[in-house]
């Protein structure tokens, strides 16, 4: 029983952490319709920035904020490459992802793993220190959940503002944004900044959970985030009171649960990424089958 509870807590911890990333990727992939691969680079960016800052003695909550901003800047570069320099969306992401590898190594001072054991993190210092001793096994799930909730609520609020409505419009019908006298390219850059900022924040929280940053922790993050988004949005589409931002977090938790169950059933760790890819494929195929029946008539834009 204790093992099951431990597993559940573990699933929730990681589900909340990757859920933050899933919310970010929901903005780029679903709202903006932009397949953003730079996520593979911004996730470890957040982790490395956090490790370097916490090692230097910076407040862990401030480190979260700085990691968030760094991710946003990386997203702006992806957007700049795509919107201003006219590079395709996939290539812009790959370029930033590749470039960030070196940036991350520079931040960690050349080592691929930067540990910061026994330092202050959001899970053991500040508000976390106030938790009673009995709640100590749950501190990670509590604080990861709180950060995830804050991100979700902030984004829900943002999507209802004028800027947020314009962001949704630019992914949906760029011509409409142009008709409103606004540059849809600018909105794309803003959306990519938000998406990557959330991803870097997820990397930051994961690094604090493990008390170390790994330069190669980004591998497979695109797949994990997209799978969470697609599982979440397709499963909970019909449930009216669940907003998409919540459903992608639930998607992340479910996805993580599948991985943990497979590991418990004795799948060797080496097969983890293969399993991630297979699960994502299943999610994509079932999503296509589900939406095939109710796909809306797509009107092709007529030219000239």
């Amino acid at each position: 029983m204790d093992i099951a509870l431990g597993l559940l807590i573990n699933v929730l911890e990681e589900g909340f952490i990757y859920g933050i990333m899933a919310i970010g990727v929901y903005i780029t992939y679903t709202v903006l319709d932009f397949p953003d691969l730079s996520v593979d680079g911004t996730f470890p960016l957040g982790a490395c920035v956090t490790a370097a800052l916490i090692t230097a003695g910076v407040n862990p909550w401030l480190a979260c904020l700085i990691a968030f901003v760094c991710g946003g800047l990386a997203g702006c570069i992806t957007g700049f490459l795509h919107v201003k320099l006219g590079i395709t969306d996939l290539l812009s992401g790959i370029l930033v992802m590749t470039g960030l590898w070196s940036v991350n190594l520079v931040i960690t001072g050349g080592s691929s793993i930067l540990p910061f054991y026994n330092r202050n993190t959001i899970f053991n210092a500040g508000p976390a220190a106030l938790l009673p001793e009995a709640a100590s096994p749950y501190r990670i799930v509590i604080f990861a959940g709180i950060v995830c909730l804050i991100v979700k609520l902030l984004l829900d609020a943002y999507l209802k503002t004028r800027s947020g409505l314009l962001l949704r419009a630019s992914g949906n019908n760029a011509q409409y944004v142009t008709s409103l006298g606004k540059n849809p390219g600018t909105m794309k850059i803003i959306g990519l900044a938000i998406g990557n900022a959330c991803t870097a924040l997820a990397g930051c929280i994961l690094a604090q959970q493990g008390e170390s940053a790994n330069v190669s922790s980004g591998t497979g993050m695109v797949v994990m985030a997209l799978a969470s988004v697609i599982i979440g949005t397709s499963l909970f589409r019909k449930v009216k009171f669940i907003k998409p931002t919540l459903s992608v977090v639930l998607g992340a938790i479910l996805y993580k649960a599948c991985l943990v169950i497979a590991m418990q059933l004795g799948l060797p760790t080496n097969f983890l990424k293969l399993l991630m890819a297979v699960l994502f494929t299943l999610a994509l195929v079932s999503n296509n089958l589900l939406s095939g029946r109710r796909r809306k008539q797509h009107v092709n834009p007529t030219q000239i």
Partner: protein
């Protein structure tokens, strides 16, 4: 050949000495405009007809900045807009497209679409997207469409019919003050009844708001019945330009004859 503007004094829109060649220096080169001139007086409702490839839609695309001119100048209300970007044109030009999907945002609700359009020209900042105080005003405007949309404010626009979406697009694009309204075959994708409805709505909005309007249409009947000036295009030139009295004596038959005549030249 070019038609010199007749009443240049109060012209709102001026296209002067426009040159435009598509696919230059290739086998597909099409020289469309050579010293093309067109001016539209303030408050005038101009219908443009012409065969395929005559340059009607290109006029609209040039005016809206969707494609650049090779040389020449375009001014609207005295402002030179020749080199502005497309989204900068939108600040004073409203355009309704042939494709009903282009003028509205399908994933957003009617209310959100209207709120976005209502804020045109303002800042798209972190203030609440839908201003609750304006909802009644939106409802009143929707009532004018007589489509019952005023009771469906929270319905996503993607679930509306083509005619409803086009009526909404027309409303949205004239919500904030604009200098020039451009209608790009905006009834062509609709069934005959919806297209008649949208055309009547267009007439009403244009007259009420005294909008300067340029309408491209394939429907000769609409071109005759609506608007105060009719322009027929052929191979990048104006071949017929009838204003007020001249236009009122034109019949669909005259127009069809003229149309067939120029089509014959093209070997159609």
């Amino acid at each position: 050949m070019s038609i010199q503007p007749k009443s240049d004094g109060n012209a709102l829109v001026r296209m002067e000495h426009i040159y435009k060649t598509f696919n230059p220096h290739s086998v597909n080169e099409v020289v469309l405009f050579q010293d093309f001139n067109l001016s539209i007086a303030e408050g005038q409702f101009v219908s443009v007809v012409g065969s395929n490839g005559s340059g009607k839609t290109t006029i609209l695309n040039l005016l809206c900045g969707s494609i650049p001119v090779d040389s020449g100048t375009i001014t609207v209300g005295g402002r030179d807009i020749t080199r502005l970007k497309e989204y900068q044109h939108s600040k004073f030009i409203g355009r309704v497209f042939q494709d009903p999907g282009k003028g509205t945002c399908p994933e957003l609700t009617i209310l959100e679409n209207m709120a976005l359009a209502d804020n045109k020209g303002g800042a798209y900042n972190l203030r609440r997207g839908v201003n609750k105080k304006r909802i009644d005003a939106y409802r009143t405007q929707l009532e004018l469409l007589k489509l019952g949309l005023e009771d469906k404010l929270n319905l996503s626009v993607g679930s509306l019919s083509g005619g409803q979406r086009q009526a909404l697009a027309l409303l949205i694009c004239t919500m904030t003050p604009i200098d020039l309204l451009i209608l790009d075959e905006h009834t062509a994708a609709l069934d005959p009844k919806s297209s008649e409805n949208v055309m009547q709505l267009t007439e009403r909005i244009v007259r009420e708001k005294k909008l300067t309007t340029l309408m491209v249409t394939h429907n000769l009947k609409f071109a005759i019945n609506y608007g105060d000036r009719l322009v027929m295009m052929h191979r990048g030139s104006v071949v017929l330009d009838a204003a007020s009295e001249q236009k009122s004596v034109l019949s669909t038959r005259d127009l069809t004859e003229k149309f067939n005549q120029i089509s014959l030249e093209d070997g159609n």
